[in-house]
């Protein structure tokens, strides 16, 4: 009986310490999205460049990378170079497309951002009151979603995309579920 209590106490203390140690490794800002595996919320909004509206539905049948950004976001600046490269790299792929959602921004701010850092060439949706961003469960910028050809969200990347992200994260998901 005496030993039983000792074991219970030991297990209890070890469990609490293990949970604590695991918790230290976690980033409190990196909250898993419940949207992964669910259909992406459709939208059709005005484009940043005053062109025809950007519609999610029109990308059905292809893998789609949806990048949420804003000219006010510092990390988006550092990420932009990779987005430009990724757009160039995947330009020949018929099964893959990219769009940006400039949210909580002014039209001028967004346009200036692209003018100074370069236009990656894909379409940019304009979401000044972050209606799409909230509908997509966005916390901050940059956040990127990978949507499959059927319109199901397969991955959410919180924070900037990095060199080699496409090969390391996106491709394995895309090849697993064509």
């Amino acid at each position: 009986m005496k030993n039983l209590w000792k074991v219970i106490l030991l297990v209890g203390v070890v469990t609490i310490l293990a949970l604590f140690a695991l918790g230290l490794e976690n980033d409190p800002r990196n909250i898993p999205s419940p949207l992964v595996g669910r259909p992406a919320s459709p939208f059709s909004v005005s484009a940043l460049d005053d062109g025809p509206p950007v519609t999610l539905e029109s990308y059905r049948g292809r893998w789609l990378l949806v990048n949420f950004w804003g000219s006010w976001c510092i990390s988006c600046r550092s990420e932009h170079r990779y987005l430009m490269k990724l757009a160039r790299m995947t330009a020949d792929r018929r099964d893959f497309a990219m769009i940006g959602v400039d949210f909580k921004d002014t039209r001028e701010g967004g346009k200036e951002f692209l003018a100074s850092l370069g236009d990656p060439g894909y379409r940019q949706a304009f979401d000044p009151d972050q209606k799409i961003a909230i509908d997509w469960g966005v916390y901050g910028a940059p956040e990127t979603y990978l949507v499959d050809p059927a319109g199901i969200i397969r991955h959410k990347q919180v924070g900037p995309l990095y060199e080699g992200w496409f090969e390391k994260v996106a491709l394995p998901i895309m090849e697993k579920k064509p």
Binding site: G12, I31, P32, P34, D129, Q130, K131, G137, Y139
Partner: protein, 161 residues
């Protein structure tokens, strides 16, 4: 009544009246739906400021979430449906007070379970300590020893007598 007292009474009365009649106050009525908006916004966590509700937070995201809530309430959506809308997108992190469903039940029940376990441990320890203490007074060997000693004492006293 002296002038002094009269003045004092006048001062007290004017004071009371000036407090009870706020001059220039305009009665404003809150939108009837605003109470619902407030209830929902107070129960949701502002996603970027960790421990503030959407209603209290001044962040841009919280303000826009508040406007989404307001639009939905105005459109006649139910309170539960609006809460669920945010839950579907942000997970249970969005609730300031965690739900008791699923794994969260463990978190809610854990402390009570630990308390119960501690209570049982304390109870059994106390019982054990008492058991160890009680025999000391009534220890048969000690009693015998005392008896033998007293008998011997009695005998020796008798011999002396």
């Amino acid at each position: 009544m002296s002038i002094h007292r009269l003045f004092l009474t006048w001062a007290v009365i004017s004071c009371v009246f000036s407090w009870s009649v706020p001059l220039g106050a305009v009665e404003t009525l809150e939108e009837p739906t605003e109470a619902t908006v407030r209830d929902i916004a107070k129960s949701l966590r502002c996603a970027v400021c960790q421990n503030q509700s959407v209603y209290e937070s001044n962040s841009d995201l919280a303000k826009d979430m508040l406007s989404v809530i307001r639009t939905k309430v105005a459109a006649g959506e139910q309170e539960g449906a609006i809460r669920d809308y945010f839950f579907q997108r942000y997970g249970d992190y969005i609730y300031l007070e965690p739900t008791t469903q699923g794994g969260n039940g463990l978190l809610w029940g854990g402390p009570f379970f630990a308390l119960l376990l501690g209570g049982i441990a304390l109870f059994s320890a106390l019982k054990k300590w008492r058991r160890r203490e009680t025999p000391v007074g009534k220890n048969p060997s000690v009693d015998t020893a005392t008896d033998t000693f007293q008998n011997r004492l009695k005998n020796e006293m008798k011999q002396i007598d």
